[in-house]
Symmetry: C2
Subunit: 155 residues, 2 copies
DNA sequence: TATATATTTATAAAGATTATAATTTTGTAA
DNA sequence: TTACAAAATTATAATCTTTATAAATATATA
């Protein structure tokens, strides 16, 4: 790796997908890769605007749509009007805690569901999504104690 | 059943959930029970407004939120900004065809996923959702023929 | 019937995403 | 380097979905 190209690997991933590695795109991708919080557009924007004061929210939308199309990121729609993004495109499930709002990953294998299934047998499956809702163990332990603040959505 | 109360059974279901069976609520519930199309708010409204000319879209939203809370209907969020509803609350999966937009049901049992799963073992799971995307068999057969119109979303 | 309560309606407000056009950046060739 | 063209970013307007609010209507009770 050449000196001064610390983001060489990230750039290369974008280039391989025919996406020009602009400063903003690298930063967004880097941000997604560095978190497991499944952030919303708002969260990505408000964090990155500190580093990039001229950043526009439209760029976040453009970039995420670009990544989605190139399958560099995955859209997570657990709640309506709260689109989240995940740079981990390996098959896995999501669990959203209805108390603290945190979204957890969990391992899952859905291949057997498709093969043994009557109707899906003749369908072409391009994308598989699974998510659960409930209360996470941390919140279960705090249940008799003080109420956790909010549910993470601000609603 | 008393004569003139053709919707007695539907009313009773609502009453059992402590929901007063108003004319509008009965019509919305009846509509949901009578379709397997997983309709959007817009579709429910535009169909029912023919029967109920004074109907307001706010009533549809109010009613569906009420049904959701009472677990008489299930929210399906496959695409962002396209919330759909399903009166079938039995556990099942959904498949959305990316070509014709139709949403199919498919049987699925997710209990084994929870029990064998490390992280979920200590969580309280209240709701399970699974949906796939791809191309349905009907569209696969038409693929070399004329292109099917739209993807059903109007986008 | 009179009155209180609940529901529906119409409309405004809020929030998220997309569309548009101007500005800025990047790449290329003279 | 400079000039030009293409692409990306930005700011902002427009659109769309959902929620909030208050007035009007319907329902239940005394
Ligand atoms: Mn994830
Ligand atoms: Mn269904
Ligand atoms: Zn929690
Ligand atoms: Zn199809």
């Amino acid at each position: 790796m050449k000196p001064g190209s610390k983001n060489g690997n990230i750039s290369d991933v974008l280039i391989k997908k025919n996406i020009k590695p602009s400063y903003q795109r690298i930063k967004v991708f880097e941000y997604l890769l560095g978190t497991d919080s499944h952030p919303t557009v708002e969260q990505i924007y408000s964090d990155l605007v500190n580093e990039i004061p001229t950043l526009s929210k439209a760029t976040i939308y453009n970039t995420l749509n670009l990544f989605e199309g190139a399958q560099l990121a995955r859209v997570i729609t657990i709640e309506e009007n709260e689109t989240r993004y995940d740079a981990c495109i390996e098959e896995h499930g999501h669990f959203k805690c209805e108390n603290c709002g945190k979204i957890y990953d969990f391992p899952v294998n859905l291949d057997n569901l498709v093969s043994g299934n009557g109707i899906l047998e003749n369908f072409k499956v391009n994308e598989k999504n699974i998510y659960f809702k409930g209360i996470c163990s941390k919140c279960l332990n705090n249940k008799s104690n003080k109420q956790e603040g909010k549910n993470g959505t601000g609603k």
